[in-house]
Assembly symmetry: D2
Homo-oligomer: 219 residues x 4
């Protein structure tokens, strides 16, 4: 299974896929019947469909990914409702204990309420990274301590911070994937989820459906 590393402990794995560029064309052709002789070049047709927001043929392709990302990213990710999901459950299983410590620490943008802008000083960065590590290790220590004393897994985990990693299978059709990528590979998105979106777009979508990727980048 192809695997792409993201952030310090995360990954995107391509588990399975169904269809390709020609499935988009095939889906469009059943709708257009024999009436599209003049659009019979696949590239042109796919660009036409994309530009004119004829979205249903793009739904004819499906992909399944295995994602490992911090909880705060998973929370943004799973707000997208048109996907099938199986997530690792901290009720059934012991959490694996990986957590995320950012490389670079950003300052609050004063122009955009939701965004970061620029970096803090080297000294603040080191101090904050060290504090994130400390609070994470402190929480993880307590987590294992109370597990060992027989407290239920579903209770122990409530003290873990949202920089801890979770994992899920994520299955989605190409139309909704591209919508996700448009929103999350955007400069308004948080940089961590953009790292995932960019990997998916460049490493997975591009070789899978190159004509569709071309249309996506063009418009």
């Amino acid at each position: 299974m192809e695997e792409y590393k993201v952030l310090d402990c995360g990954f995107v794995r391509l588990v399975d896929k169904m269809g390709d560029d020609s499935s988009i064309v095939q889906g469009a052709r059943v709708s257009y019947g024999t009436g599209t002789k003049t659009l019979n070049k696949d590239k042109g047709l796919i660009e036409y469909l994309w530009k004119n927001k004829h979205t249903s043929p793009f739904e004819m392709c499906e992909i399944k990914l295995h994602i490992k990302c911090p909880i705060f990213i998973a929370r943004q990710w799973l707000r997208h409702r048109t996907a099938n999901v199986n997530e690792y459950s901290g009720r059934y299983s012991v959490m694996k204990g990986d957590y995320y410590v950012p490389d670079k620490i950003c300052t609050q943008s004063t122009l955009n309420k939701q965004a970061s802008a620029g970096y803090v000083s080297r000294e603040t960065e080191e101090r904050m990274r060290s504090d994130i590590l400390k609070v994470s290790e402190y929480a993880l220590g307590l987590y294992h301590e109370y597990l060992a004393q027989g407290v239920s897994r579903e209770t122990c985990r409530i003290l873990l911070p949202i920089n801890f990693y979770t994992e899920f299978y994520w299955k989605i059709d190409l139309h909704n994937l591209l919508h996700f990528l448009k929103l999350r590979n955007h400069d308004h998105a948080q940089s961590e989820i953009r790292s995932y979106a960019e990997i998916i777009l460049e490493k997975i979508v591009k070789p899978w459906v190159p004509l569709c990727y071309g249309a996506f980048k063009k418009y």
Copy 2:
């Protein structure tokens, strides 16, 4: 492409599929993590998931079918909203002109408002079959006549009866497919759609995901 004939001119074709029984197990295992050692027989796990309505692992499989059925069946079919669809468009293309004439004519059930029960006399049956054919041919003749005079396709088709055939690609995950089959392979469903549901269940689902098929039949 495998094709199964249904009714007088219809079919179900298997276009593509993704995943199988082991994908259901894999989806369940990511949720259950390492905690399911005691359920490690796939058959038992799939039956457990199905019986306890843990539906998300079944969403990890996807199938794409090509359906040809009368419009009145397509209307029932496409009420199921959790699927991806590309339907033949009578606006873009000339309708192919196939229409459905039932083999047997049923009488209205007096017990169940929505159902048929028993058969009309042989004589009524023959008369009605002949009348269905007549009105279909009459409508089809007018359709082609006005097309030939330059009337738009989208207007000409409005006089075609709902026994005319349409075609569509239909892509759906296994959980929602089984929900569809439970409702449409049921004795409250109209016999024509049951014919399609039965074919899909026995000819396509059974060889594709045999353990899941077993659980479906058992509960």
Copy 3:
């Protein structure tokens, strides 16, 4: 209940609604918390949300309509999947027998595969209107004849053309309603569904959520 006539026998009725412009603002404010002091004019905020495709606050409003339209329009309408629907059933009940005869007959566009363009001659128009009426009356006569002979409703109706009227309740959130209106009040849409979309936009959406209507028209 407000009722707006559409086509020869159709209507749009406003059954119920929930929320208004201020609910969109309220939805946005919970997401933005106390951070939006500078955007505190509702009109500006709604235009900002619309322009930047922040769609979730528009989902905070809901509307329920009662629609009566020809079957070929209902087929286009119910392809929109994110709505709740209860449709009149020709299996449970006798069809009411209204059918649609277009006022004007359009010719096929040679530029756009799916569209009409211009009108046929007055003479062709009269002849076709008369033929639509004839095939509709012929089918309706047979429908009632076989019902009277005890044939099941679900079978009798299969010979009715798609210009026959159906009815349904349609409940949808404002974001998805506006998406529907953008696609169906568009010059690529069939003129009959545009008549419905225009009525809904001008007679129902405009007085209901005037700021949102303004943003919709502006962008």
Copy 4:
């Protein structure tokens, strides 16, 4: 606005609702047309619909709630995809700083992988409650410290544990609400989300749609 307290700092508020028992009946009647004279008592009809899983009439009612709950509960909650959501954003706004400390600490069930069973000793309980408080205060202190130093909100929040409270508007139709309540007011659900589900069922659903509530409890 009606408000019901849940857990130590949470609540459920009823923001708005649309429809009632009679809307379910009205939805069913448009589907059944004039054919249901014999089912004309609303109570009987609603029980019949519920028992036979005729779910679409229940979708004719809609409700909007304002929820405040810990993040680990919100994660379970928002896995239900058929709802409209506006959640408080820790990117736009400073987190309010409330966190959840359980009253009682449960031990891990040995029979059910995902469940708690019984309580830990009084002494372990006190120690764990105190540790949850300590890690929460530690994280909250760091959160405010780095905010004050100009680090972006979206970065500062990543060290907050999942017992911190979030808030969201949640709008859902009655069919999907009842499905949620069936799963989350169940002894397999975590006790904290059951507290929310029970309040919604008893304090909000019961007075809103009493016939529907009766059918839900009966079957």
